[in-house]
């Protein structure tokens, strides 16, 4: 729910990093905060517990500058990943324009990833949003760990695709980032679409900006 303020000539878009606890959502924001030009970033706010677990949210505003007369800004939020913070997680999704799901690649966290994805879907539905219709990307984080599951396995479990009902979109669509893979394809006679995905090591910053870049472009496209 981007807001266009014609009085102050501003456009603000809300991007939310979602995913299981300790998956690297806050680390993504910290990396963006540490690398982005000081003139483009605002104050980063973290509402965290004493042990640095996100309690409510992290918030980082990023200025894209003035485009066609409009000061354009992304508000980046993370949600608390721990299961029992669902009330706060749901609040942060209010008015969301785009979601980056940060999955933990470790094989032991497969169940937690799936549970968090289902939770995202149902929390969005409670706000009246449909995950398959809003800008949405997936980031497979912690690719450097020895117990990281293979990408194919993660894709099958977390990003199996959703049915494409609109016949005009039922076209084989290559994934520009992964050769030989498709964002829209036929599986067992049915057209399915998957979210674009990225591999990352958020602690070193690998893949962090690729994810943000892709999501923010998807969100900007919805304004046109």
């Amino acid at each position: 729910m981007s807001m266009i303020n014609y009085a102050s000539r501003e456009i603000n878009c809300k991007l939310v990093y979602y995913g299981p606890g300790l998956g690297g959502k806050t680390t993504n924001l910290e990396h963006v905060f540490s690398k982005i030009a000081p003139t483009a970033k605002g104050k980063m706010i973290s509402l965290a517990t004493e042990t640095e677990r996100t309690l409510f949210f992290d918030f980082l505003p990023v200025d894209l500058g003035t485009i066609r007369g409009f000061k354009t800004r992304f508000h980046l939020y993370t949600v608390p990943g721990q299961v029992y913070y669902n009330a706060s997680r749901k609040l942060i999704l209010k008015g969301v324009d785009g979601v980056a799901f940060v999955a933990d690649s470790q094989i032991e966290r497969m169940e937690a990833n799936i549970e968090s994805m289902q939770n995202l879907y149902s929390n969005l539905a409670e706000h009246g949003y449909d995950l398959t219709q809003i800008p949405f990307v997936i980031q497979y984080n912690k690719r450097d760990l020895p117990n990281a599951a293979p990408i194919q396995e993660l894709q099958a479990a977390i990003n199996p695709g959703w049915p494409v009902e609109d016949v005009t979109r039922q076209r084989l669509t290559p994934d520009p980032l992964h050769e030989g893979e498709f964002l829209i394809e036929q599986v067992d006679g049915h057209w399915v679409e998957r979210a674009p995905y990225f591999e990352s090591v958020a602690t070193s910053g690998d893949g962090v900006f690729d994810t943000l870049k892709a999501l923010s472009k998807l969100v900007i496209k919805t304004l046109g």
Binding site: M3, N12, K14, I45, F56, K94, Q133, S216, L223, G224
Partner: protein, 168 residues
């Protein structure tokens, strides 16, 4: 995105005439209540308007925390069986804040010090809230009637800027 978008999310816009009406309501309120500053923050955490004395804090941080504060209290209200808390009050040593819901869409935040009292602020805010409700309900009806779009060329320029800024 438009109000009719399949996502269920609706974008909304804020025009100059809206800004003028809101500024005039808030200026009048500040005069009669002797409060320092009145701000309008949307429920998603975006600052919409500031009237009165300039503030020294970061407006973006302030807006995101205000929205979170209000939303969290909304949930607390439901837990105790209330549909909502229509207003909140945070008392400081010198400066205090009074927050009120407007049309379930935005939050009016009043900052005041010992030049006035909570009683006077609460008394005077009622009429301001009534007028603001009216303005925002009208804006809402307008959004539902028509789509908001940026001018052509905006998307391409924004994408170039995203590449530059997030390119590392």
């Amino acid at each position: 995105m438009t109000g009719q978008d399949r996502t269920g999310a609706s974008s909304w816009s804020f025009r100059e005439e809206d800004s003028r009406r809101i500024t005039s309501i808030l200026n009048e309120f500040l005069q009669v209540s002797r409060a320092r500053t009145a701000l309008i923050v949307d429920r998603n955490g975006q600052m919409i308007a500031t009237v009165g004395e300039q503030t020294a804090f970061d407006p973006l941080a302030f807006a995101s925390l205000t929205a979170a504060d209000f939303s969290a209290n909304d949930q607390l209200a439901r837990l105790i069986g209330e549909p909502e808390f229509g207003s909140l009050f945070h008392q400081g040593e010198k400066d205090s804040m009074y927050l009120a819901d407007i049309a379930r869409r935005v939050i009016l935040v009043v900052l005041f010090d010992n030049q006035t009292t909570l009683g006077l602020v609460k008394l005077r805010v009622k009429s301001a809230v009534g007028s603001l409700n009216h303005v925002f309900i009208e804006m809402q009806a307008r959004e539902e009637a028509g789509a908001n779009r940026v001018e052509s060329g905006f998307v391409g320029d924004a994408e170039d800027e995203i590449d530059r800024l997030f390119g590392e």
